[in-house]
């Protein structure tokens, strides 16, 4: 056993002596997690906290619809509405030009007479209904038609993402529906007043009745809304953890090239001892990396006014998940390091495959947004298993039994990767050359 500990000591010393390597191993992933979490969190949180997306609004209507849409956009806290540029009121042409040259992303044109059309349409509809009540038979108003429609033009920068366009159009439709409903409410009051002069319309305005609230039944506090940090920190931490493929393969290939491995082959020590010592030391590296990234999520991100990462209370489960994820990452690194003949091969294949695993695992685009085929493929990514495990632990108060499936998959992945490495080494051993 002391040969194993001696090999662990040797690996640790080699790691500690390489200061640049240590910085890359521990500091760079932290920086990456903080920056990526900041970019993503602030990107989405700006939609609710800081109105920063500029919208050009050309109000040719100058009536209720224009005013309500402007009010709706402003009160959404998502958009910063511009009705003039450099002190000059916006026109349709100027707005179109600004979007075309990419200075702004969205422009909304509310055509002249829009409110009048809505009002007319609502009045026709209300009159028909009210007169139907008064004159159920031979109602002369039934033949009146109002097929006028309003076309609110929305110009988008071609670079805007489809999902964002969809969300914006949905908001616009919501505002116009609300305005129409308000007008129907007002018209009814007005018609009722005409029919019953003693009728006193209610003083309150029309209000929405249906509201939506976010509830998270898996958490301790159902009203506590998980921030994107909860997704981002474990996702990027795992991404960084799998990048252990670079230093690990580097260490393996260097040992082969320097000849020290040849000397070890002539000594009375099994390759497995040397190999497991390397795995043990690098497992510690991965765990420390992950802890540092979690600490960054808890203590560094709040400095940028981002909600801190919450990690639940199943610390033993988290430790097991960290070990299993590290082993999966190292198993992959060992397989690559055994098969690759040069640093270049290992680095190129390692980096590209980690990026592919990450993308497939739903760490960039959530799995539920992927096409069905990709969703099936995602369930084969070790990063997906690890991410699912951590999300369950952090947000769903998962027990050890709950995380057994991802744990088992990660450990199985490690065993498969090690088996591939050992098999490859056996058939390509210098002994058989």
């Amino acid at each position: 056993m002391f040969k194993f500990f001696s090999a662990c000591r040797k690996e640790s010393l080699i790691l500690i002596r390489d200061m640049a390597g240590l910085i890359i191993l521990f500091v760079m992933p932290m920086i990456m997690v903080v920056i990526l979490a900041l970019v993503q969190e602030q990107g989405w949180s700006s939609l609710t906290k800081d109105p920063s997306i500029p919208v050009l609004l050309v109000d040719e209507d100058h009536d209720t619809l224009g005013a309500k849409i402007q009010e709706g956009l402003r009160s959404s806290n998502i958009f910063k509405v511009y009705t003039s540029l450099d002190g000059i009121n916006l026109t349709r042409e100027v707005a179109k030009e600004e979007i075309a040259k990419g200075a702004y992303n969205i422009a909304v044109i509310i055509p002249k007479g829009s409110t009048k059309i809505i009002r007319h349409k609502v009045q026709v509809m209300v009159t028909q209904i009210v007169s139907g009540i008064m004159m159920p038979v031979d109602n002369p108003f039934l033949d009146i038609q109002s097929n006028d429609s309003i076309n609110i033009a929305v110009y988008f920068d071609p670079g805007i993402k489809g999902t964002f366009k969809y969300a914006f159009m949905a908001s616009m439709k919501e505002y116009s529906m609300f305005i129409e409903s308000s007008m129907i409410f007002d018209s009814f009051n007005s018609e009722l007043k005409k029919m019953f002069p003693q009728y006193q319309p209610p003083k309150s305005d029309y209000r929405e009745t249906v509201y939506f609230s976010e509830i998270f039944p898996a958490g301790k506090d159902e009203n506590a809304v998980p921030s994107t940090t909860q997704h981002n920190v474990p996702a990027w931490a795992l991404f960084a953890m799998f990048f252990i493929v670079i230093p690990m393969t580097g260490s393996m290939i260097k040992e082969r090239e320097e000849g020290s491995m040849v000397r070890i082959y002539t000594m009375p020590v099994s390759y497995l001892t040397i190999f497991m010592a390397k795995v043990s030391v690098y497992t510690m590296v991965c765990i420390i990396q992950f802890i540092l990234m979690v600490l960054a999520g808890r203590f560094v991100l709040p400095l940028a006014k981002i909600p801190p990462l919450t990690i639940g209370s199943n610390y033993f489960g988290i430790l097991l998940m960290m070990i299993a994820s590290s082993l999966a990452a190292l198993g992959f690194a060992i397989a690559v390091g055994t098969i690759a003949r040069t640093h270049q091969q290992a680095a190129a294949f390692g980096v590209v495959s980690v990026v592919v695993f990450t993308a497939l695992g739903g760490l960039w685009v959530p799995v539920y947004l992927m096409p069905e085929v990709m969703r099936t493929i995602a369930t084969w990514s070790p990063l997906n298993w690890a991410h699912v495990g951590f999300i369950d632990l952090f947000l769903r108060q998962a027990t050890l039994v709950d995380i057994l499936p991802p744990l088992a998959k990660l450990l199985a992945f490690f065993v498969v990767m090690i088996s591939i490495a050992l098999f490859y080494r056996r058939i390509n051993s210098p002994l058989n050359s």
């Binding site: 320097e258 040849v262 070890i264 082959y265 009375p268």
Partner: protein, 250 residues
């Protein structure tokens, strides 16, 4: 030197994967306990291949070899405990110090604690390396690296030492110290198997030499006796050139 055969090689053949020409073609020889045995030959003659098979780095395609009565295929782990290997290239960790390297390799031979420390200290003292103990290998000169490379293979007092060109690329002083130490070890009963291109060095050091060329042993014996048998050549180098020819080798 005793009469006991410590290394017995019979019809050893090695054909590398992807190569049609065997690197060694049926080498047979006996090496006696306490010998300093030189394997001499031009580049590509098969010296390193022979040593690599004996110390378990390569598997022979055909033939057999026994070290201290143990078959190299079936008793490799036991054989590894009694042999010491000093590879041709410096096989040390550059970012570890000389002491740390020797501690690690000593541990891999099963040595530990005070006895290992004493062994390392002795080895460093013999080669005048005391002041370099805490120096990283990367910062050491070629001669110092070679000497540490040698100590790493001798820490466990092996019965048999394989040295693959241990004096290549070092100054005369380092070479003398290494050769003197090998003689000293040999006097204590250690069998030394050694490859070299330096004929004069082999003539001075070895009790017997085998001249290998194109995978075969073409001559074997005590270097002085070989010179005496060929009075037309004044030294081993001329005999070597006569036997192997003057053509340049790959």
């Amino acid at each position: 030197m005793s009469d006991k055969v410590i290394i017995e090689i019979r019809e050893l053949v090695k054909v590398y994967k992807g190569s049609e020409e065997p690197a060694i073609k049926g080498i047979s020889l006996d090496i006696f306990q306490g010998e300093i045995f030189g394997l001499l030959g031009p580049n590509g003659a098969g010296k390193t291949t022979t040593i690599s098979i004996l110390c378990g780095l390569f598997r022979a395609t055909k033939g057999s070899a026994r070290i201290d009565g143990m078959d190299i295929h079936s008793n490799l782990n036991e054989i590894k405990k009694i042999i010491g290997v000093v590879p041709q290239d410096v096989a040390l960790y550059p970012t570890l110090t000389a002491w740390e390297n020797l501690t690690f390799f000593g541990n891999m031979y099963g040595l530990k604690g005070a006895s290992l420390k004493q062994k390392i200290a002795e080895g460093m003292a013999v080669f005048g390396l005391e002041k370099h103990a805490d120096k990283k290998i990367a910062n050491c000169s070629g001669g110092i690296k070679r000497r540490i490379n040698l100590i790493a293979g001798l820490l466990h007092d092996p019965k048999v030492i394989f040295l693959d060109e241990p004096t290549v690329g070092i100054d005369v002083q380092s070479r003398v110290v290494i050769l003197e130490y090998l003689k000293e070890l040999n006097q204590k009963g250690t069998t030394v198997i050694y490859t070299s291109h330096y004929m004069e060095e082999a003539e001075r050091l070895c009790t017997r030499v085998a001249i290998i060329d194109r995978g075969r042993v073409i001559s074997m014996g005590n270097p002085h006796e070989l010179v005496a048998e060929h009075p037309e050549f004044k030294d081993l180098e001329n005999i070597f050139l006569h036997l192997t020819g003057k053509d340049l080798r790959d």
